[in-house]
């Protein structure tokens, strides 16, 4: 089931790109001919972003995911996560699972990680990628840590092929406006997504309010689709005073974590 998901995720969009066809075939061949390595390895992920990579790269190794993995508004693997165990980022709860490897981010759960490391557990921390090159590095690192480097390589090849196939759309000055009014600044992953879709990023990385947005409006305002659950942070993005600015929206799960899945957001914005 999980393998079929993995394949379907990367073949959602029909595309004539040669590279893409090749990479898809490579992936299929690999999936058929190689048995899952590191059988029996039990991996705990404490971070939404590593949750997604773990489920896509080695679903058979999951010991537990973070609770956020089940939330479809921010998780790209919510459907699979529902049938997988989860654990709070709490050292004691994680120790009870006796994992072989603990995946985590650079922020959050750091106290738990310190305890886990002192107990001799193997941990792998990933940085937040700031562009697609660092996504590729992260995928490779996590795949290596999981003992599935070929699956990681296939994932990277597919991602690069899809990115290469993107034909930038109308372009113009765009601001990627996130919860609480933060804009994607230069060197951020949001900036990489905007540029890959053919826009010039007009954001500074600082938070701006509705009035500041109206004072210097961009050609295109890029926001995430309103999530299922209300918050003041996202109410701001749908303020009625902004009705006059052209807007493109992307599903929030695609950019909640930077990953190979974020290419889908680039494809949507370029269209």
């Amino acid at each position: 089931m999980s393998k079929s998901f993995f394949v379907s995720f990367f073949s959602k969009k029909e595309d004539s790109s040669f590279l893409k066809k090749i990479s898809k075939k490579l992936l299929l061949i690999y999936m058929v001919v190689t048995p899952a390595p590191a059988l029996g390895a039990r991996v705990v992920s404490l971070n939404l972003c590593t949750d997604a990579l773990l489920v896509m790269l080695a679903p058979e190794q999951v010991a537990a995911l973070s609770p956020l993995a089940r939330d479809p508004s921010i998780s790209v693997v919510a459907a699979q996560a529902r049938s997988l165990p989860w654990v709070r980022p709490d050292a004691e709860a994680v120790l009870r699972l006796h994992p072989d490897l603990v995946l985590a981010g650079r922020y959050g759960a750091q106290a738990a990680l310190t305890v886990l490391r002192s107990r001799g557990l193997r941990t792998e921390q990933v940085d937040e990628p700031t562009d697609f090159a660092s996504v590729a590095r992260e995928v490779t690192d996590v795949a290596t840590a999981l003992g599935v480097p070929v699956r990681g390589a296939a994932m990277v090849v597919t991602m690069r092929a899809r990115l290469a196939a993107v034909r930038p759309g109308q372009g113009g000055r765009a601001i990627f406006w996130q919860a609480r009014g933060f804009t994607a600044g230069h060197g951020s992953f949001g900036d990489a997504v905007l540029r890959a879709a053919g826009f010039v990023n007009a954001g500074t990385g600082r938070a701006i309010g509705v009035e500041a947005m109206l004072t210097h409006p961009p050609d295109v305002l890029v926001t995430e689709q309103a999530p299922d659950y209300p918050s003041l942070a996202t109410d701001l993005l749908t303020h009625p005073a902004l009705a006059g600015i052209r807007r493109r929206t992307v599903p929030p799960a695609l950019l909640a974590c930077a990953g190979p899945w974020s290419v889908a957001a680039v494809e949507m914005l370029a269209r």
Binding site: L68, G209, V210, E211, L214, Y229, P240, A241
Partner: protein, 311 residues
């Protein structure tokens, strides 16, 4: 009275000219969809808080009574959080002020029931402090239980208030309950005057004490509840305003009601304009919260007022 009117008109004009876009005449969208709701809400919420403070101080016969200090504002925010984060207000918008009203009314009811023997004693203020701590704790708990995983980040709004980026809808939702609440409270002047002479004297004067208390609670819950639902928890306005006015208009609580309403509106508008100016000209990551400014002014004020009360 004319002085108040001129001050109100001038400050309202100034408020419409100040914002993140700078100082000057803004374009129509910014004026109507941002500055008007913001200015209107500052005046309305401030009026409700100032008047509620004056009524609470009169009815409880304690100059330290304040809706925020007594936990009524915190309970109102808790009620609003309940309907906002669980999506009720997204389906039925008036649920937002209704939730604030229900929370504020529940807070008042608990406090007055627990201290029904001596509502004017010093115990009620301490009980209010306990209620306000409880409300803040429950607020944090509710936000961490909310379906939105990032809701807890918004606790500063619910505890410290703010009027940035509010919409015309928020203004429309807040007008009816706050105007109704203020109308109820403004009619309590005679009852409060009689109460200031003691409950027995008031009874002989034909003032229904229980009914006065009930109307005060209803009016405060409407004005403070709807205010907290759209502007978050803003403290100290109800404490500062009547205490500031008392030397000018005298000790009679009934005489304080109208001046406290107008001065409350003015004070919150000035606080909000200060927040906007600070966001515009100071190197801050965001505008300072409205409740931060009222607390900066109100905390020293409380110390002075408390020293005067305690011998």
């Amino acid at each position: 009275m004319r002085g108040w009117g001129i001050a109100l008109a001038l400050l309202t004009m100034a408020s419409l000219l100040l914002g993140a876009a700078g100082l000057g005449v803004p374009d129509w969208t910014i004026l109507w969809q941002l500055r008007v709701p913001r200015t209107g809400l500052a005046l309305l919420v401030g009026a409700g808080l100032g008047l509620s403070g004056a009524v609470l101080q009169g009815v409880l016969r304690n100059p330290l009574a304040d809706p925020g200090f007594l936990g009524v504002g915190g309970c109102a925010a808790l009620g609003a959080v309940g309907v906002f984060y669980w999506g009720v207000a997204a389906v039925f918008a008036p649920a937002l002020p209704l939730g604030g009203f229900a929370g504020a009314a529940a807070g008042c009811a608990v406090l007055l029931y627990v201290f029904r023997r001596s509502p004017s004693g010093p115990g009620l203020i301490l009980g209010g402090v306990a209620l306000s701590a409880l409300a803040a704790a429950l607020l944090s708990l509710a936000l961490s239980a909310a379906p939105n995983p990032f809701a807890l980040y918004e606790i500063t709004f619910w505890l410290m208030g703010g009027l940035e980026d509010r919409t015309v809808t928020h203004l429309a939702l807040a007008v009816p309950p706050i105007v109704l609440g203020c109308a109820l409270l403004l009619r309590l002047g005679r009852g409060l005057d009689a109460l200031s002479l003691g409950e027995e004297t008031a009874a002989t004067m034909g003032v229904p004490i229980a009914a006065t208390l009930r109307r005060a609670v209803l009016g405060v819950a409407l004005a403070v509840g709807a205010g907290a639902a759209v502007a978050g928890g803003i403290g100290f306005i109800g404490l500062i305003v009547p205490n500031l006015l008392r030397p000018m208009v005298g000790e009679r609580p009934g005489a304080l009601l109208w001046p406290s309403t107008i001065a409350g509106a003015l004070l919150l508008l000035v606080a909000d304009m200060t927040a906007r100016a600070a966001g515009l000209w100071l190197p801050l990551a965001a505008e300072p919260r409205l409740g931060v400014l009222t607390a900066l002014l109100g905390a020293p004020f409380l110390v002075v007022a408390a020293r005067r009360v305690a011998p």
